[in-house]
């Protein structure tokens, strides 16, 4: 079969488009001070930021799993008035500017926020500008990815397996843990990974709601941004680390979830 001739204009525009993505990555690779890589990575501030980032993003993923899977289950399985509106509200952060999310979080959980003032008065709990605040900001922004992925998984699974389990005497909880969850395993995994990657890269909501205190709320993306003004080389290296993580996530998801392309 003769190959179809691709219009030159399309090729040119596509090439520019591809270069737009590839050049910055190339820049990061070429201009990174490889000689200082080890010392930059081993610097205490870097280690601290990296540790905080991992703890916060994994915690956010954990919270998202605990709260997001039930939400997804309700969206997929329960019909009630206002379901569409509720789903839209809980997935709004996917399209909301993260800074706006951070401000919204402050207005709800800040010291003078809707719930925050009560938490402060009654229990002396303050959430903003703490590590817990970082986890909240990251969960807020990242959980929708998990909700939508898991909901899609629940909708596409064959529910008759659940019926078969019930005829075998399985309680609802046993059906859920032994049949439903394993059957939506791939969706659950993909949702959790997407959620974690999004949490790891979170910047806007975090800096707005949790601030930028080294060791407490300064995550990797915040450190990268700050280092850009004080120690460019180190910020390049940290960027490279984040890039590497993203790449691993993408490749991992490609084979497991997105199918081969």
């Amino acid at each position: 079969m003769r190959r179809e001739r691709v219009p030159i204009v399309v090729v040119a525009l596509a090439a520019v488009g591809a270069a737009f993505f590839i050049l910055p990555l190339l820049g990061l690779l070429v201009r990174s001070p490889w000689r200082d890589a080890v010392s930059s990575l081993a610097a205490p501030e870097t280690i601290e930021a990296l540790k905080l980032s991992l703890i916060a993003s994994l915690s956010a993923t954990g919270v998202a799993l605990v709260l997001g899977v039930p939400l997804a289950w309700i969206y997929a399985r329960v019909e009630f008035p206002g379901r569409g509106v509720l789903r839209a509200l809980t997935t709004l952060p996917m399209v909301l500017p993260p800074v706006v999310g951070g401000i919204a979080l402050l207005l709800a959980f800040g010291r003078r926020g809707l719930l925050g003032s009560w938490l402060d008065r009654s229990f002396g709990i303050t959430l903003p500008f703490t590590t817990a605040g970082v986890v909240m900001a990251e969960t807020f922004v990242a959980m929708p990815f998990l909700i939508l992925t898991v909901e899609a998984g629940l909708r596409s699974m064959d529910r008759r397996y659940e019926e078969a389990a019930r005829t075998l005497g399985a309680s609802r909880w046993r059906v859920f843990t032994r049949v439903t969850l394993p059957l939506i395993g791939p969706s659950l995994f993909a949702g959790a990974v997407l959620c974690w990657a999004r949490a790891l890269g979170e910047f806007g909501a975090t800096i707005t709601f949790a601030g930028n205190f080294p060791g407490v709320t300064q995550t990797m993306p915040l450190a990268v941004y700050l280092l850009l003004e004080t120690n460019q080389e180190a910020s390049f290296i940290l960027s490279l680390v984040l890039l590497l993580i993203s790449l691993v996530v993408l490749v991992g998801l490609r084979s497991r979830w997105l199918g081969s392309v």
Partner: protein
Amino acid sequence: MSLDVALSVRLGALELDVEVTIGEGEVVALLGPNGAGKTTLLRAIAGLAPLGSGHVGLDGQVLEDTATGDYVPTEQRPIGFVFQDYLLFPHLSVLDNVAFGLRSRGTRPRVATEKSLEWLDRVGMRSYAHAKPAELSGGQRQRVALARALAPAPRLLLLDEPLAALDITTRADVRRDLKQHLASFEGIRLVVTHDPLEAMALADRLIIMETGRLVQTGTPAEITQRPRSPYVADLVGVNLLRGEADHGSVRIPGGPVVAAAGAESGDVFAVIHPRAVSVHRRRPDGSPRNVWQGRASGIEVIGDRVRIRIDGEVRVVAEVTPAALKELDLGEGGEVWLSFKATEVGVYPA
């Protein structure tokens, strides 16, 4: 032990309205065309389809009664269910599939494993204990599904088209095995099928269902000899007429008067086996009391027999040998005479 069901369920356009009692240890086949509501009935008995109204009772225990609001959830009903495509859990091994019911009902892991291995032994699948369902053939899956349903010792076993997912070459073997395994189970067995051969091979009693209603019940012999609806007559391959009996004859409304030796009076069915119908090109003379003229509207060869559909005042199917067909020199659309004896007409009250 008995199953006692009277229920109505609405599912889309289908209105299921069924009353049935099944006695201790019976193997009953629920036979009917696609869309008759057979599967829905099974699901209602298992508690998977909500009842519109009615009740389901097993061994005197009320499983569901819409009048009193009693409802035992599916997972607490002593019912085993073999689904049409078996629905073995794809993420569990064969052994864990069989052990699932025992574990769900609180059996300790070691005991559950032992018992499951025994069950796999019984159905000849022990060597596949650690295989995943995807590695099994259709017949093997069916055996595992049966072991899985029976392992928790249910009192009622429901099977939904247990052979439909198999290809035709293995079906006969699997059916024989299934009959054997069903025989070793002591509770009530209810098999849904649309295949009369399967129903008669597996069951002591048939229940025929059409468009949400039971139309006939009886042993395979009773059903074959005395079909009570065109669908059943078609299933067992006989000619069924209905009319008014009058001492030696049956008057078919808008049709002929059939001479029938056993006819007395009242609304009756008259059944004529196709083999009892002779086909001629010229008007036959001699003893047969029933002689009609018609046109051969369909000629179908089935194995070593030929079924000729003859449209006259009523439609009748005759069955002849291929040699006889050749001798008749008959093609579709040909004019024929058919005849059968008055003593060949079975008559019973409608």
